[in-house]
Structure formats: C-alpha cells, structure tokens
C-alpha cells in the first residue's frame, strides 16, 4: 500500500459512507411501504438521479474493494506486488461490470 492507493481507498470510503446510509434508508422505505419490484422499477427506470447514485456507488465500491483485495493478495498469498496489483485490477473490473449491469437493469427501461 502506498500513499496514492491510501488516498483513493479513504476517498472512496468517504464517498460510500453517505451512500450506504441512503441505500439502507431506501431499503427501509421500500419494505415499510410494501413496494413491489414493479413499484420500485417504476420509480428507478429512466431516472438519472438513481443511475448517478448507484453508478457512483458501484464505481467507489469497485475501487475501494480492489485496493483492499490487493493488500490481501500481497500479504496472504504467494503473489508478488505486481501480480497482486494485476489480480486486484481484474477483481475491480469484475465488480464494476457486475455493478454496472445491475444499475443498468434497474434504471434502463
């Protein structure tokens, strides 16, 4: 871990903290109101706000988790720093792809 990765990991954590709270609030609201999947999709589809909200969430989570997994690889596996970095980038891209797919599924009509 160097200062660049440290700053990115802390910055993405700072971005995610309010997004997690908002996400939890949405979950509570949806369950309390008894919203069905169709009700939720009716609200999210075509919404730039929800696309931006969860798009940002996915981007921050992908970067944050990739940096964390790089550390785990470099400390707990036989991989060297370069290999750990490469695998972490792959992991981050996979998270970003899966996340983007999920966001697209709820905001694209």
């Amino acid at each position: 871990m160097n200062v660049r990765l440290y700053v990115w990991q802390r910055a993405t954590a700072a971005v995610m903290a309010p997004l997690v709270l908002g996400h939890l609030a949405v979950i509570f609201y949806a369950t309390r109101q008894g919203l069905s999947a169709a009700d939720i999709l009716a609200r999210t589809r075509g919404s730039i706000v929800w696309a931006a909200y969860y798009g940002l969430f996915v981007a921050a989570a992908s970067i944050h988790a990739a940096i964390g997994i790089r550390n785990i690889f470099s400390e707990w596996s036989p991989f060297n720093e370069r290999q750990a970095g490469f695998l972490a980038i792959l992991f981050g891209l996979l998270l970003a792809l899966l996340g983007a797919r999920a966001v697209a599924a709820v905001v694209l009509s």
């Binding site: 160097n2 200062v3 660049r4 990765l5 440290y6």
Partner: protein
C-alpha cells in the same frame, strides 16, 4: 517472590532457524529477571548458550527475547510477572533471522530505519544560533512519540504486518521518522515523507496496535504511524510528494 517454587523449568531455544527448545532447571531467586535466568544458564549450566545484553537496566535495548510467547525486554521483566507455574519458555525475537540460540540478526531492523530516513538532516550549520524549540509546541510534543525509543525490536517482533509483509519497514522505523518529521530543526522532511509514503511504508500498517501494547517504553507507534499517514496524504494531495 513465590514461596513454594524453588526451581524454574526454563526452555531455551537452541540452534539456528531449525533448532529446538532445551529445558534447564534454574534456581528461583528473589527479584529475579528473565535476563538473570538466561545468564544463570550461560554461566552455570551451558557456556555455549548465545544471547545478547549490555546495560541490564532497560537503556540499551539489546536483550529483547520472546518470553512465554510474547516479545519483552528481559532485563526489566521480572520472573514473577511472567512465569506460569514456574515455567519459562524463552526464544529469539520473531520476525528476525536467528543467528544462534537467543541471538537474532538485527540488520534488517536497522536497515529499515535508514529506508524510512530515520537519520537527522541538519538544516543549519554550527555557525548559526541554536534553534529555539518551545517544549510546549505541538510539534515538540508530537516528537515525544519516539524520542525514548531504545531500538529493542520488541514492536518489530510483535507486528503482524511485519510478519505478513516482508517489505514493511515496521513500527520502530516509522516512529523514528515521525519524530524527525516533527523536529523543527530537521531539513529532510520531503525526502522522508516520500520514503514513508511508498510501498512498505506507513500506509502498510493495519493499526493492530500490537506495537503500542508491547512497547516496553510505553510509546505509541500506532499513533505516530497514523500521524505519518495524515501528513503524507496531505503532502501527496498538495503535490509535494509523488506516489
């Protein structure tokens, strides 16, 4: 002193990396330290035992060993405090190569000090007036984090991150760097921050706080490392250092 126990059962590491523990019986004495026990074995039972000590009063930092699984300064560790039922297991410090018996090679420990730029860099010459440092200034107070460090290696031996990451410079080197970062007379801070911000520097620390828990001088390396994390992050964002 324990009134019942007259003999200690002492297991000492013998050999190099692939050695084994050998058990000795050592008379239990009043106010006996772990170093006294090791010295008794060497003087009376086995003169081939290798170990390191110098001052015997907690100043030189050379007698640290693993005592019943925990790194300690042996000259200031009383047997009564650590001997479970009169049993002691004493080994070399962890995370350092074993030379022989209880003696470790400290070269990597001190090389890490150099790597973290732990040497003072003068910013003035002898022809200039002596710098006036107020004892109550925040920087001078922060410098206290490591000013009493005796380089015993206990924090290094007890650090999980050192065990997992061979490139990590360790708590002692970083705490020394933090003291110099706060030394208003020092002129080498940009290079120092650059050094400790790299891979294996302060950002590798997981803040487990074993160093703080184990430090015989009750210093707080974790706090010093946290200070370095903040200072290097600020310097990086200002463009003063590179990643």
């Amino acid at each position: 002193m324990s009134g019942q126990i007259s003999e200690l059962s002492v297991s000492l590491w013998r050999g190099g990396k692939s050695g084994r523990y050998q058990t000795y019986s050592v008379p239990r004495r009043e106010s006996q330290t772990v170093l006294d026990v090791v010295t008794f074995v060497q003087r009376h039972l086995d003169p081939t035992l290798s170990y390191r000590f110098a001052c015997r009063v907690g100043v030189c930092g050379s007698c640290a060993m693993t005592v019943n699984g925990r790194p300690r300064w042996t000259c200031r560790t009383h047997v009564g405090k650590v001997a479970d039922n009169g049993r002691l297991e004493i080994g070399p410090l962890a995370n350092l190569p074993v030379i022989k018996d209880l003696t470790t090679d400290m070269e990597i420990f001190f090389r890490n000090w150099q790597k973290a730029k732990g040497a003072f860099v003068p910013s003035q010459t002898r022809h200039e007036p002596i710098a006036q440092i107020r004892p109550d200034s925040p920087a001078r107070i922060a410098a206290d984090a490591a000013i009493e460090c005796i380089n015993c290696g206990v924090c290094y031996a007890g650090c999980d991150t050192v065990r997992w990451n061979s490139g990590y410079v360790g708590p002692a080197a970083l705490t020394r760097a933090w003291t110099l970062v706060n030394d208003e007379r020092d002129g080498g801070n940009t290079a120092r921050l650059q050094a400790v911000a790299a891979d294996g520097g302060c950002h590798s620390c997981h803040s487990h706080q074993s160093c703080q828990e184990l430090c015989p001088q009750t210093l707080n390396p974790t706090a010093a490392i946290a200070g370095l994390k903040r200072r290097t992050a600020a310097a990086y964002l200002k463009g003063e250092i590179e990643a």
